[in-house]
């Protein structure tokens, strides 16, 4: 069965500290992986995606993610968080085109001043 697991419901980090959000997936074919961010009251914004090639993917807002096939993981990282990064983060897996993608339950990021 296809699924996405985000084991951390909430994460709190201090402003300026590094961040890693975990994502594990189960997918029958070659996975196409996405990270989205949702600020309060907003829609979803695509941070980055992995289709193929280099397993370290750079995204917007200083985020990056690393695809590790052996661990079925696609963790999101940022070296130094800003207060504006406080939001809900969703990992998703699916095909790259014209089919549904499956979302994890999300990780809510809190930033301490």
């Amino acid at each position: 069965a296809q699924s996405v697991t985000q084991p951390d419901i909430h994460i709190t980090v201090s402003e300026g500290a590094s961040l890693e959000l975990r994502c594990n997936y189960s997918y029958g074919a070659t996975p196409y992986l996405f990270w989205y961010v949702q600020s309060p009251g907003q829609g979803l914004q695509l941070l980055l995606k992995y289709f193929s090639g280099d397993t370290l993917v750079q995204g917007i807002k200083g985020f990056e993610a690393e695809f590790k096939r052996s661990q079925s993981s696609f963790n999101l990282r940022k070296p130094s968080v800003h207060w504006s990064d406080a939001a809900e983060y969703f990992c998703a897996v699916g095909p790259p085109r014209d089919d549904k993608i499956i979302f994890g339950k999300g990780t809510r990021l809190h930033i301490l001043p």
Binding site: L44, Q45, D98, K100, F103
Partner: protein, 113 residues
């Protein structure tokens, strides 16, 4: 990537009534996807709308409750029918942007009283 205009952005509705949500895309797309995000939850796919054919509904969602129209390649509507407080959610439409990942509308925040 595609740009989606979704409206209304929010509404408060009486139980037993219906609300129609519209999504307009700035380019032609094959499929449009409708999601529901219940309070504090992740996204759940309601249905996939393909132009010229009936929408395909996910388990737990039925056409009588969530009728969908897809009159052309840039527009779709989702109606939430005979609403109850349990329908209070954010509803989002999504399209795939030619291999650039899935783009989401800004969402419709529905409250049923």
């Amino acid at each position: 990537s595609a740009v989606i205009s979704q409206k209304p952005s929010r509404d408060i509705c009486q139980r037993g009534t219906s609300l129609t949500i519209q999504c307009q895309v700035d380019s032609q797309v094959t499929m449009m996807f409708w999601y529901r995000q219940q309070p504090g939850q992740s996204l759940t796919l309601i249905a996939t709308a393909n132009q010229g054919s009936e929408a395909t509904y996910e388990s737990g969602f039925v056409i009588d409750k969530f009728p969908i129209s897809r009159p052309n390649l840039t527009f779709s509507t989702l109606t939430v029918s005979n609403m109850s407080p349990e329908d209070s959610s954010i509803y989002l439409c999504s399209v795939e942007g030619r291999g650039e990942g899935y783009t989401f509308g800004s969402g419709t925040r529905l409250t049923v009283v």
